[in-house]
Symmetry: C2
Subunit: 407 residues, 2 copies
């Protein structure tokens, strides 16, 4: 049996925590289990390294190749200390940088993508009885330069390694107990899900649930590696992300309620309803790398053939989106551009809704019963999202969650 | 023209100092000059990493391979920051770890020796117009594991790289102006030497002068690379260590006065003067890895054929030496073993004394004139050393220095 276990920065923030992780892993280790650990930089190390670089230049990321030379040291420190911790406990172990573990990336420094993994050395060390500890968040390009995978990249390292090693499972240890049916800080009855599919997890992440990086879930799906999301602080079973459910988990038609408060609404009012108008607006936004989410086109004046274009963007993209839209609106001779920032999105996600008509209607009914007005609705194959006032988001999450997960 | 320039940890202790070094190097750069920089970890970084490891285990050096994985991050941080500093100033630059620079070592972790250097990448980057910044103190073994060269190893990295690159010179930047005729903190008239030979420098280092690591001087001699020891804080010319002098420097018969207060004297009194006695004592010490320096055998009682064996060891080896000697003395039925710690050694070093009889006599005369008693004398081809009371070491250094370097 081969298991990949990933621990994030807060789990390895001090020497004591690193020792505690080594003890925990050994306590749970099966006799025939081969273990690969993937770890992040300790605590705030990455931020501290960035601060150091800012002492040289205000915008050090313009020296991306050197930023990666700098940042990859963070995980290298952790892997060395964790290997020592295992050895101190009598368990042979060895640390490997991303390059040494055979993680080959492109050369897009600070945002590298894994091209291939050749884990020859990892297998050799496992076969000699060692626990192998690999630096997360990093690989090397063809010339041997260190490359980071960008923030959150340690999850991707772990899942990709599990795939390349044909591991039996990949465990992602985090500060929550697993994937919940809604954010437990908001929905009182939120329950931990036993299982969730890759597609559902990706949809949950897209719609605001922050447990897993989408890239790592995609990687799991690509290689068919079940991802077990569980807590660093307990021995409980968490949530397994996999291709399909085992039988007993099929009872839920939806898998979770996601919400996202970091959205803004843009309305371009009074443009001519002629071919190419939508394309003009959204092509300009795409050129500026702004992701557009919910889109509604509504008739303003059918006789004059005039329409309104309404859509949402991430709040972080709002300034850039506004600049682009203002320019296009002028070219299109629009009546006005309106921005609303006090909006939020509540969504339900579940592969089960495919064969279950009426799911969306139940969601709308629950919101109506709670007196919450819906501004925009959008749907995908496995989700329904409603844009509402941000002041009502907590009530909305609870209303929808109670509808599908009654206590 | 190709120059290797090495800066130590105190020269790169902060982002500001790193920027200052980049500015200084660019100010001095010749139009046709190719530059390779070798740098150490910032300030106390190495000590901080060791402390971190002690949080895992009190004696982390027993996990030597993992210590090297940990410690090599220190220089990796510096090279990244220095490369950024050059790029910010408009000079293209690239950082390379020891492994990337082609520095191949054995696998004696934490005390690695350089086996070979294949600086293909260094040449490529130089030829593309970059300043190349190499992590000092490190290389990699045949399996690609990081290996440190031990404390002071950055000097060795620099000189070995200069040799492999067939550099025109290797500049070691330090916190002193060069190699002095005596320790300037003690000898009032100490002067900076323009030149000194490899052999003299090695002898000076052996006899207590701390400017350069002997290994790096040996490396310079092996490859015939002149080593220019100079100050980080001034633009002055320092001291060039080379095979032989240029004409004008031949006027000095001795090159320097060295002294060493970290010595102890051991006397084994009253052993039989028969073949094999000396061998017994010194073989036992060699087996225990104790270096013995000055040795004198003196007759105690010619009729009984009884002799005394007197010698010196480094103070750090004294406890171990005493244990060994006590045991052998018992076997030899010696009268007593005496230890003296209040001793010190003053030495003169110079290739010029080979053709100049009477140099040693001048030294003894100078000490006698100052009223200083000599306990033991030892000589090599290019040095004469006298063991004296440690309370008289300052007077001794000044007396000898004034004799050979009159104001």
């Amino acid at each position: 049996m081969l298991t990949v276990k990933k621990f994030g920065g807060s789990s390895v923030a001090t020497a004591e925590k690193i020792t505690a992780i080594a003890e925990r892993v050994l306590r749970e280790k099966q006799a025939d289990e081969q273990i690969v650990m993937v770890v992040s930089a300790m605590g705030d190390t990455t931020d501290e390294l960035i601060e150091l670089a800012k002492g040289i230049d205000q915008d050090p990321y313009r020296f991306a190749r050197e930023m990666d030379m700098l940042l990859t040291t963070g995980e290298q420190v952790t892997i060395a200390l964790l290997a020592m911790a295992f050895k101190k406990l009598g368990q042979d172990a060895i640390s490997l940088t991303g390059r040494m573990a055979g993680i080959a990336t492109d050369d897009v420094y600070t945002k590298g993508r894994i091209l291939d993994i050749t884990p020859r050395r990892v297998h050799e060390e496992l076969d000699s009885g060692k626990i192998v500890i690999v630096a997360g968040f990093q690989g090397a390009d063809a010339a041997g330069n260190p490359v980071t995978l960008g923030r959150g990249g340690s999850d991707t390292s772990a899942v990709a390694l599990a795939g390349a090693l044909k591991a039996d499972s990949c465990e992602i240890f985090t500060d929550v107990e697993g994937v919940f049916s809604a954010d437990p800080r908001i929905a009182k009855g939120a329950r931990k899900m036993q299982e969730i599919t890759y597609n559902e997890m990706l949809e949950m992440a897209r719609l605001g649930a922050g447990v897993m990086q989408p890239r790592s879930v995609e990687m799991g799906q690509l290689y068919g590696i079940p991802i077990h999301v569980r807590s660093t602080f307990s021995q409980n079973r968490g949530t397994v992300i996999r291709e399909d459910y085992t039988m007993e988990e099929k009872s839920f038609v939806i898998r979770g309620v996601a919400h996202d408060e970091k959205v803004a609404k843009i309305a371009v009012l009074g443009v001519q309803n002629t071919p190419g108008v939508a394309h003009k607006i959204f092509a300009a936004l795409a050129d500026a790398n702004v992701d557009v989410d919910m889109i509604v086109q509504s008739i303003r004046n059918i006789e004059k053939n005039v329409t309104d274009m309404v859509f949402t963007v991430a709040i972080g993209d709002l300034n850039q989106a506004k600049a682009v839209v203002d320019k296009v609106a002028e070219e299109l001779d629009a009546v006005a551009v309106l921005i609303e920032e006090d909006v939020a999105k509540v969504s339900i996600v579940g592969a089960g809704m495919l064969g279950n008509p009426g799911i969306a209607a139940r969601m709308f009914g629950a919101l109506a019963k709670a007196g919450i007005n819906i501004d925009i609705i959008s749907t995908s194959e496995i989700s329904v999202s409603c844009l509402i006032k941000s002041s009502e988001i907590k009530d909305a999450v609870n209303a929808v969650h109670n509808e599908f997960f009654p206590a």
